[in-house]
């Protein structure tokens, strides 16, 4: 449990904002510059620049250099880290509930078997 904690903090926080999720969705289709990314939104160019920085600090995107442009590039591995975290506990919980359901079903069956006026099941 090293500092993947902080990485997860930042990654989840980054995706908690709908504008940033939209940026990620668009970046999954193609890389883009901050200018291109900012174009469709009402908010200022600087606001989008900040959002991109948040995504970058979270490790969700990286950037290269092409003349004045700084193309933004989605990093699928960071997304993978998040799914791994989530899926681990989702699976754990679902298995547990499955086991619990099975137990309840068995108990119900036992009760049934214990009924005084029970009928032979087979």
């Amino acid at each position: 449990m090293g500092d993947s904690t902080q990485q997860l903090d930042r990654a989840f926080a980054a995706l908690a904002d709908p504008t940033r999720r939209d940026l990620v969705a668009r970046l999954s289709v193609s890389d883009a510059t901050v200018g291109e990314l900012a174009e469709p939104y009402e908010v200022s160019f600087q606001a989008i620049s900040k959002h991109v920085k948040v995504l970058e600090d979270a490790g969700l995107v990286t950037r290269s250099r092409d003349a004045q442009r700084r193309p933004v590039h989605l990093n699928p591995e960071a997304l993978d880290l998040m799914t791994q975290w989530i899926e681990r506990y989702r699976r754990e919980a679902e298995e547990r509930y499955r086991r619990l359901d099975a137990l309840l079903a068995r108990t119900a069956q036992d009760d049934e078997d214990r009924r005084p006026d029970k009928e032979q099941t087979s």
Copy 2:
């Protein structure tokens, strides 16, 4: 895209906090009351109660009633919603990069084929 937006906002924001992620991890193993959940942490009981409320508002946990106790119960479906969102764009991006890699490989091969002193590959 109805109000799953807000649900995702809340769910991602909820998991952005390490204490809340820890609560989720523990709840994946077994349901627990707020008191039980609060016990291992240094912070006040009320602080944990607030954290649980955040998880509840995000749809990540539900609660029932057992005398004075209000057992907290993890909701795996909410986790599933998150993975679905993430995986959609992760897959999209990874496929795109695979295609790009393939294209680059083909281009490199063409260059190779075009070399004047090229050697037959097979």
